[in-house]
């Protein structure tokens, strides 16, 4: 169980995390979502006692993590795959971590095999690809067989086989009753993995709920339409209380009306429609809509 209460972190005049409160429960995979710069990594670092909160608190298993003399048997964490010393072999890296936490040596061999790195164990980490480093970071997180696992963007750089492995691993760890907290800036990564979501934007909480509830939030239905007479259709839609917006591909999106209603209106006034498609917004859209105002770095151009 991870509990954040009014967690706040300021760097000079910048507020990275602002009064963030949420609870991450055991037994399910909880996705930690937010656009780049939303404060996910800062939050995870505070949870691990690496950064000190400006105010508020975050506890793991009821205690601030920094109070524990040794960490690996309580929390396994992959923050950044680059958080290793490139001059050491994977085996030496894991052996040092295990030794400091009084974890038996055979456990190092086990996690290396689990992560598919047994063959590269004696190679220097500096020569590893990003995907291999992710695997090494995950292996390190598993060393202490901990009840709580934190992963910051674990799918970065992984090949398709690796993505499948991590997804399966996350679900299995949760099924074993562990608390699994996984950050990502891509909803698509979480869609088939997470059961619950904690969504933040600009350091503030946007949502903390089940995946289904979150999907329902963004459920603004829309209708995709193609027509040869957009002006007439726009007038009809507006008079019926809806709105019509052009899309890049030449189609139009109607919001505020059902697909049936759009068809009826067009039929009555003899406006020819080439296509009418009802659209339910996906999780991805819900995420985009809810975080649209809070994205820190936005690409240029129309959205």
């Amino acid at each position: 169980m991870i509990e954040a209460r009014e967690l706040t972190k300021r760097y000079g005049g910048t507020t990275a995390v602002n009064a963030l409160s949420f609870t991450v429960r055991p037994g399910v995979v909880t996705g930690f979502l937010g656009p780049n710069g939303a404060g996910k990594t800062t939050t995870l670092r505070m949870a691990l006692g690496l950064n000190t909160p400006t105010s508020g608190s975050v506890t793991i298993g009821g205690r601030p993590f920094r109070e524990r003399p040794r960490g690996l048997r309580h929390v396994g964490a992959l923050l950044d795959a680059g958080d290793v010393h490139g001059g050491r072999s994977a085996l030496a890296h894991l052996s040092a971590l295990a030794r400091g936490n009084a974890i038996p040596r055979r456990r190092v061999t086990e996690v290396l095999e689990e992560a598919g790195l047994a063959g590269a164990a004696r190679r220097r980490v500096g020569g590893f690809s990003l995907g291999m480093r992710q695997r090494l970071g995950i292996a390190a997180a598993l060393l202490g067989d901990p009840p709580v696992l934190l992963f910051d963007e674990p799918l970065n750089g992984l090949d398709p086989e690796g993505v499948l492995w991590v997804r399966g691993l996350l679900r299995r760890l949760a099924a074993e009753g562990r608390t699994v907290f996984v950050s990502s800036h891509l909803m698509s990564e979480m869609e088939h993995t997470a059961d619950r979501l904690v969504v933040i934007g600009r350091g503030e909480l946007i949502a903390s709920e089940s995946l289904a509830d979150f999907a329902a939030r963004g459920n603004r239905r829309s209708v995709a339409v193609r027509t040869s007479d957009p002006a007439a259709l726009a007038a009809l839609v507006t008079s019926a209380g809806g709105a019509l917006e052009p899309e890049d591909d030449g189609s139009y999106t109607v919001t505020g009306l059902s697909a049936d209603r759009v068809s009826e209106l067009a039929f009555e006034r003899r406006v020819l429609l080439h296509e009418v498609t009802a659209r339910n917004s996906s999780l991805e859209q819900a995420f985009m809509e809810l975080t649209a105002d809070s994205a820190e770095y936005r690409s240029g151009g129309a959205r």
Partner: protein, 284 residues
């Protein structure tokens, strides 16, 4: 993966585990051992070269005073050789800290062991122990080989000669003291190049600023530097006041042997304390 381990099964946190972990980290870096070996070869090499050229000088000289003009202890402890040793030791000590910060390894380390003071204390103990062995090996080798070179010309000193053991011990201590200074600077600066430059500055350049004897306080600050302490410890007591020889320059405010030991001890303690304190407080 096996079933969940109940937290109650956790073994007691032992400092010995952290020592073992830091030892694994230290010996698993090829760059560290390469730097230590290279540093030892260069340092001992400089001293051996000095002894050989002096021995040649005596052999070829027709002047019988040539033999007594040479201080056999000096070739064993050539200042430049041990200044190189100081820099190598400081760099290796500093690398145990900045090497973790440079790549972000420090976060993995502290997430695995949240007791940061214990981690840095373990590093301090391992670095001190390794450097003590290293410094002893280099100082003993330098003394042994140079005196063996001097034996045929009958000026070689045994380790039991006055001041010989003290010189070896003082030189041996120079390595851990320098390494600890490097660690403290590494923890303060947390940047590779900056730390190395700062180590050279503090250990070798700073003492130069406090030379001269016009003002006593200036000289006393200079006297409190590790390199000044080392110079006092490797001095040959048998030759401080050569009877009937040319009058040597004698400092008005010299470093006594006791002061020298205290200076080395104080630098080591303060450096270790700085490293532990600084790392404990900061965000990583």
């Amino acid at each position: 993966m096996s079933a969940m381990t109940p937290p109650a099964a956790e073994p007691r946190a032992r400092f010995g585990d952290l020592l073992a972990a830091e030892w694994i980290k230290m010996r698993s870096l090829r760059s560290t051992s390469a730097a230590l070996v290279a540093g030892a070869l260069v340092s001992v090499g400089i001293c051996v070269n000095s002894a050989r050229s002096n021995a040649h000088l005596i052999e070829r000289s027709t002047n019988p005073d040539q033999r007594t003009a040479i201080d056999p202890l000096h070739a064993a402890f050539v200042p430049e050789a041990f200044q190189i040793l100081m820099v190598v030791a400081a760099a290796v000590g500093a690398a145990t800290i900045f090497g973790e910060y440079a790549g972000g390894m420090i976060r993995t380390t502290f997430a695995a062991v949240p007791a940061r003071r214990s981690v840095v204390a373990a590093k301090v103990v391992v670095v001190t122990a390794v450097m003590l062995v290293y410094g002893t090996a280099v100082a003993a080798a330098s003394f042994g080989v140079t005196q063996a070179i001097y034996d045929p010309v009958r000026i070689g000193l045994p380790i039991t000669a006055p001041g010989a053991f003290r010189a070896v011990a003082g030189s041996a201590l120079l390595a851990p003291v320098s390494a600890l200074v490097g660690m403290a600077l590494g923890a303060l600066i947390r940047h590779t190049a900056g730390t190395v430059v700062a180590s050279v500055g503090v250990l070798l350049l700073l003492p130069r600023l406090f030379g001269g004897e016009t003002y006593r306080w200036v000289k006393e600050i200079g006297n409190a530097m590790p390199v000044s302490a080392w110079t006092a410890l490797v001095e040959n007591p048998a030759r401080s006041l050569p009877p009937g020889g040319p009058v040597r320059w004698v400092s008005r405010y010299p470093v006594s042997v006791t002061e020298a030991w205290l200076v080395l001890g104080a630098w080591a303690l303060v450096a270790a304390a700085v490293a532990v304190a600084v790392v404990h407080r900061r965000d990583v």
